[in-house]
């Protein structure tokens, strides 16, 4: 009788032990599965975030373990730079300076994205934006000039805000050019970025330099001007020599 009881208690203890072990294994498996799901969720979130800076097809190729080949694309490059920002930077508090710069970038980026452009990079107080680089866009020229005009309005609005706070006004120069560039992931093994390589971006940056010379805030090259809607008001300016560009480039000031 006692033996039977002992056997029964032993069997019960064995079953309980097995149950506990099974339960612990299951809990561990569930925990690991949740961690895996969280990691996959984070990866998905990262992929979506990444897609704002690099075309989706490129993101997918990178995830699949490959490096996408460069591709020739017709793009419109917009290069904006703050005029006289360096002396201003030396006069005001660093915290305030960063705040002003961030507010300015925020407003300019909004104007660019609302017109289907993508901010490619911020270079000091400069902005490089691309139109037609992520997805082919037959209306990229008009979009880019509309974005530049929207940036002008945003800047005027921001200057009113700065004046109310007793802060100096900002002024910018914007250069735009349309042409073919090579799109791809460029950089070192440690750091790569999606960029358009070639003359198009350089010309936009050099044309931006001409804004001070011509006393105009937005300049477009002839290559872009000839594709634009006739509703834009353009003022022709003398062709100018640009550093690193063989032939003089005809430019137009965008009035409205």
């Amino acid at each position: 009788m006692t033996v039977s009881w002992l056997l029964a208690v032993g069997a019960l203890a064995g079953i309980t032990l097995l149950g506990v072990l099974w339960w612990r294994e299951r809990a561990e498996a569930t925990r690991l599965r949740r961690r895996l799901e969280d990691a996959a969720g984070n990866l998905e979130h990262l992929q979506r975030t990444f897609s704002r800076f690099v075309p989706e097809a490129v993101v997918e190729q990178v995830i699949a373990g490959g490096l996408p080949a460069g591709e020739r694309k017709e793009v419109t490059a917009l290069f904006a730079d703050l005029a006289g920002f360096t002396p201003l930077a030396e006069r005001i508090e660093p915290t305030l300076l960063v705040e002003i710069l961030n507010d300015y970038f925020e407003r300019m980026s909004r104007a660019i994205t609302e017109h289907r452009g993508r901010v490619s990079t911020f270079l000091g107080d400069g902005i490089l934006a691309l139109f037609g680089a992520f997805e082919p866009n037959p209306w990229q020229g008009d979009d880019a000039v509309r974005a530049a005009l929207a940036m002008r309005e945003e800047l005027a609005d921001y200057n009113r805000e700065l004046a109310e706070k007793g802060l100096p006004n900002l002024a910018f120069g914007v250069g735009l050019h349309r042409g073919v560039g090579v799109a791809g992931l460029v950089g070192s093994r440690e750091k790569k970025e999606f960029a358009i390589v070639g003359r198009t971006v350089n010309v936009a940056a050099r044309v931006q330099d001409l804004t001070r010379q011509h006393d105009a805030d937005i300049l477009v090259t002839e290559d872009l001007a000839r594709t634009l809607d006739s509703h834009f008001s353009l003022r022709p300016l003398p062709a100018a020599e640009l550093r690193g560009i063989a032939k003089p480039v005809a430019v137009y000031a965008v009035e409205r």
Binding site: R33, E37, A40, G41, L43, E44, H45, R48, E56, A57, E60, I63, A64, E114, R116, E135, P136, N137, P138, W139, D142, T227, L228, D229, S230, H231
Partner: protein, 363 residues
């Protein structure tokens, strides 16, 4: 929570319509009224298209139920349509696909543990749903290499392209997704899941080949519809296109312009030529069309057409919240039914122009 639920989505800005006859028609065809259809009752060809092209109508000879649902899921994910994504996620769950498989599918299609032929179909559907470029011959060849014949390939393209249109309808109306997002976890859904599954699967049919009669081989986009001849979906396409074309809410010229702009933006050369032909038939000069395609504006356009062409362009590539705000703004400029038709025509233009990818161009 799925990453899709983090996507910004505006409050629904349209009121649901009510039309007992249309609702009866949808219920008798589909067994239920698809929620996006409710917001377009003032433009009847749109809700009717759900019943006509719908998945429960025995339209597909080669695409099975599970592949159909997965195609719709990945296209909805690609288009960030929270409503459709939640709805198809729910349908996959109740039709027996385990939660972890669905999660793997939505989180990482490239490495998800799925059948290679299914992966090829899903990858193709994602490419087709993107705004530009459309899938290439190499992409089509990958599908053939995965074992899909020409008819199956066309059906896969059709399912994906149709979902692009449904995504646009649901997104532009900002159909509330929250209820559907929570539905799979409700106790009553878990309890009634097998019944829902039976109800859906009992309606799924693989039909016989179906050839168009000569009188159905003409009309707008005949080249496209006729390329699907032999598949039951061709008859449904013909019917929906004809109904949309004859609807009086927008002029035919405005509709042709919408098709032309979407085709131009997508790089669909053949659809653009067809839209140009339709626009010319409605009296639009070639120069005016050229100007519209170059700059989305022309003095030859009236006020509604001007709004229509700029809006059509915005439907080619969009983010949900900004396009929802844009559609809401347009509701102040256009009559409600006109806006419904504009949204519907733009959505179907995005669908038809994408199908160019599977129709060989002889020129």
């Amino acid at each position: 929570m799925s990453a899709m639920e983090e996507i910004e989505w505006e409050e629904c800005w349209r009121e649901r319509g009510h039309d007992p006859e249309l609702e009866r028609h949808l219920r008798s065809s589909l067994g239920f009224v698809p929620p996006p259809a409710l917001y377009f009752f003032d433009c009847p060809w749109i809700p009717r298209s759900f019943a006509e092209i719908g998945y429960l109508q025995g339209n597909f000879r080669h695409v099975g139920w599970e592949l159909y649902e997965k195609l719709n899921l990945v296209v909805s994910q690609e288009n960030s349509c929270r409503f459709c994504f939640a709805a198809y996620r729910f349908l996959l769950r109740v039709t027996g696909v385990p939660e972890d498989r669905i999660r793997r599918l939505e989180q990482d299609l490239l490495s998800a543990d799925i059948d290679p032929s299914e992966r090829a179909a899903l990858d193709f559907a994602r490419k087709l749903s993107r705004s530009n470029p459309l899938p290439s011959r190499e992409d089509l060849q990958k599908l053939r290499d995965a074992g899909f014949g020409d008819e199956a390939l066309k059906e896969i393209a059709f399912v994906a392209a149709h979902m692009v249109a449904v995504n646009q309808l649901a997104t532009l109306a900002a159909v509330p997704p929250e209820r559907w997002e929570r539905l799979p976890d409700r106790w009553y859904v878990r309890l009634t899941g097998p019944l829902i599954r039976r109800r859906f699967l009992s309606r799924w049919r693989h039909p016989e080949a179906d050839h168009l009669e000569p009188e159905l081989r003409i009309g707008p986009f005949a080249y496209l519809v006729n390329a699907f001849d032999g598949l039951p979906i061709a008859r449904s396409m013909r019917k929906v296109i004809d109904e949309a074309w004859s609807s009086p809410l927008l002029t035919r010229r405005a509709k042709a312009l919408i098709f032309a702009v979407v085709a131009h933006g997508l790089g669909s050369a053949r659809a653009e030529r067809e839209a140009a032909r339709l626009a010319a038939n409605e009296g639009l000069e070639a120069d005016a069309l050229e100007e519209v395609l170059a700059h989305l504006a022309s003095p030859a356009l009236d006020a509604v057409e001007s709004e229509a062409v700029t809006f059509a362009r915005e439907t080619i590539w969009y983010q949900p919240a900004p396009i929802q705000r844009r559609a809401r703004q347009l509701s102040e400029k256009l009559e409600r039914a006109q806006l419904s038709e504009l949204v519907g025509i733009s959505a179907f233009a995005n669908m038809l122009c994408r199908l160019d990818a599977v129709v060989p161009d002889a020129t």
